[in-house]
Symmetry: D2
Subunit: 308 residues, 4 copies
């Protein structure tokens, strides 16, 4: 079994290999120029800060369906320990074990490969157990601070959330753009709201993951045409799941990460942001979403913040 011709046709149209040189490891993050950041800072008009990460805890979004991707196990190694003798200042220390893709996270460009290749045509075999990702590890990602744009697809349609089977199309994105009175431009980080995270927040982990609304295989071309720097949303699978085309699994991952070299984010809680943007009647903001620099990491938890 190989990927179908329609995948390869789209891939050809959105491919960015070589665009920023043979040595490039960060893809569309190159589009976040100093000018872009400067303009992004101007979006912080009211100073209101909206955090977008889910709490990190054992009762997180993972429901045990993806082997090894465990919710944070948070443990104590010291509790009020008087390190220097009785009556001295006491310390508490803790530790965590977690899957790097388990919570609100960024996928590194190396999170998926297809046909034996990762972004910029490098061999997938450059990902190893001891070295982790030799190229395009999450530690290489340039600081992700840019203009954020919320495309509130659910709200644009007058819905609380999109139904499980809804594939978010380019037309949906355009509709949300118009609804928000915004034009997506080069270097933007686009946040696509489906409302699906409400299912998790209501306590249904299984229903959160499946069936899920998510990006259609047709959207990468839309992002590519606008030179978007990164995309994140409020679902477990990012793209519609189960997939639109029978037997074609994770095509949006492959197009974004491998072909375009575009980082993508999942499990972002966009509910408070949706409210804040609606209240402000403004769908752009300064976004800071710094990857934790795990050397060779194929993903990272992230605590993004929108500053309106």
């Amino acid at each position: 079994m190989t990927l179908p011709p329609e995948f390869h046709e789209i891939a050809k149209r959105v491919n960015n290999w070589g665009r920023w040189g043979a040595d490039d490891e960060i893809g569309t993050l190159n589009l976040i120029t100093e000018e872009v950041v400067r303009a992004a800072a101007a979006e912080a008009r009211t100073g209101r800060r909206v955090p977008l990460a889910l709490p990190l805890r054992e009762d997180g979004v993972q429901a045990g369906m993806i082997p090894g991707r465990i919710n944070p196990l948070h443990t104590m190694v010291q509790i009020n320990q008087e390190l220097f003798g009785p009556g001295t200042v006491a310390c508490s220390d803790d530790a965590v074990t977690m899957g790097l893709q388990a919570a609100t996270h960024w996928d590194a460009l190396t999170h998926v490969s297809h046909s034996g290749r990762i972004y910029n045509g490098r061999p997938a075999s450059t990902i190893t157990a001891h070295g982790r990702a030799e190229f395009s590890g999450i530690d290489k990602a340039a600081p992700i601070v840019s203009r954020g744009v919320l495309l509130d697809v659910a709200r644009a349609k007058g819905l609380d959330r999109l139904p499980g089977g809804h594939a978010v199309t380019p037309e949906d994105l355009a509709e949300a753009e118009e609804f928000g009175g915004v034009t997506v431009r080069a270097g933007d980080v686009v946040l696509v709201r489906t409302g699906q995270i409400q299912v998790y927040l209501a306590g249904d982990k299984h229903g959160y993951g499946f069936p899920s609304p998510g990006l259609s295989v047709r959207t990468p071309e839309w992002f590519h045409a606008r030179d978007v720097a990164a995309v994140a949303n409020d679902t477990l699978t990012f793209e519609i799941f189960p997939p639109e085309i029978d037997g074609l699994w994770l095509p949006v991952h492959a197009l974004h990460l491998v072909e375009m070299g575009m980082h993508q984010g999942q499990n972002w809680n966009l509910e408070p942001l949706s409210t804040a943007c609606a209240e402000a009647s403004r769908y752009t903001f300064l976004l800071s979403a710094m990857p934790e620099p795990f050397v060779g990491g194929t993903g990272t938890p992230v605590a993004p913040v929108a500053i309106l």
Copy 2:
């Protein structure tokens, strides 16, 4: 053994218990108002982004001196796994185990207690193994985005780095303030550069931790007088180590975290920022330093970014 009278005298002068109400869990982060954030955003004049986190890797700053505080152990759980059959899109996933205070991090207000109390007078016994920190866990910390000020104490003195035994005094801070042409004000996040992290970067983990320059027990009053929101620096111990006053261990921790309710950061790599500020002749910037929201966490890795 109990804490000496001089500690309690300073404690009285800087104490913020009750200042933001009996229910408050975030202390001086209350000082980051929307107005402060709005003004902070205006500091992003050039759009240059300078990341301040050390790479997260097994060869991190911990040298095994603090039990349980392990450097990140980064492991693979999937490498190019064709989840859906041969020839399909392949996934790579990873996991990490690490001490929450092991790398570039924020201390939560609960990281230390003294005399059985944490910030706002709550009992230290509210920190437990199963519940972790019931109050003032790092997940409670308001989004840490504010004006950053680099007090480049080493550069102000014409030094590459302060010597191991140097206690950074209020006079040193004032000198660096003047050197930088800046006045620290309410809601600022102050970054104090000693240059000590160069010792780690040069490969000497033991020398990095001990002896270390760091904040003097006299500095909390200086920060308190200016209503600083948070302080971070480029050392393992934050405060001078071994301590200035014989037998008084970690007094600055106790004053900041317990008395003032002020978050503090350690192991921040301020070297590139020092260069950038010197080049720009400007020592203020927009700082985003979002805690990862570990529920009940007594600390968190952080990937701060300064935007000049």
Copy 3:
């Protein structure tokens, strides 16, 4: 709420505090004398070895009901890495994160406390985050090698497995003793088979844990009267769950671990042993069930083996 009078009455009758001295940390393991071991070795008549541990894997018995008690997360840190250059011998290394009570395990005597006390009357506060169990940690457990006796309660009743609500009584134990043609004696490690683990093996983790057959609060006296060294069985909760007496949770744990100082084992797979004993018409054997010596551990995974 405190423990009811009936608990304290039984506790008085089975209490072993001080029996082996005020310094003792191992309780009934003292009953495994060299003579007992010598006689136990004589039970290995055919040389048939029957392992009793469940496989250690992410899909283990834990169903997420007990916070922090995670199934083994097994990850790779090296895969066929040619450490010394291309063409040299290649190494594979792995790591694990797991709850010490998550799989086939022994409870240390410190696993539970009641009324502020652990075995031998020591304060429960001797268990701390940094020091773990100061007394009676699992590393202190003497080598657990003794005569094993299978009390096959299910088979003695002609059942595949006991129903969920069945409390195993002293009478049931006596019935199984008679069925097996064996007399339990001092120093024995008694394995009580309910058959409940079949529910897990059939894929129903939730049904495995609840409702579960298990030991009645009346059995500790039976074990005490016979000076049994340790008891293990094939359930998640060890004792009947939900409990026999409304509001009296985990009384058997408290009687065994705290009062008697008797180690107990859970999630032991006794199915193959049941078959082997039935085939041999013999219910005694040499048992080796060595704790992994985690310093201060309140439990340990164990890979027991019966040698018939």
Copy 4:
């Protein structure tokens, strides 16, 4: 660079591929027959039990030289937690993260490969991140209970411990055999004592690992000729380190694990056993050294016990 001809010559002479069928995954463990176990049990003459594992703790034998192979990080997830309300029975639970080869351990046959092959000629590529070892994982290892033989090479030479540069030769093994008045036979588990673990026990982790006495590349033939089931010793590297033949790293690992299919153990504390055997003037015993059944594991901690 490839393995030198002398390696391949020895490999040919000791190779066991196909000996127990093309499907075999356990190699020389096949030699532990029921008859062997029965005879082994008869070695337990006094009932004295001698445990051979080092304590599992953060301050273990690993000195940070082997990436990813971390000492046990033992953390608490519950401390005296009254799960069912105030005054009820309280529970303490803990968790661990550790390298499977970090402490007293068995190497699985898959721990090393050479020339792209593991034991029985299977491709090394059958070891993956998601599936771990598809063949010959440590969970496949038959119960390791057999006759143990201590070859006390150091004591036979009248030494406390062998010097760092000492390669243990077949002649040394024969000398220790004679010293112990024992003849190694088929199915035995041979424990080779160098005394090197004293260096670790005295607090010198670096000196423990390097330079280390250990098995010579000539010993696999000696074990092969006697049909030994498994070999363990009291060093970090098992074989002499640095190696005897310049540029030929880990040849004994490759011969034992890949060619012979013989499990090997490292970091076994043989000091108390040496004393016990000397006192008893007897160097054989019943040995139980059960692998923890990590599914697909390339190694496992083990808590072996010798019963004299």
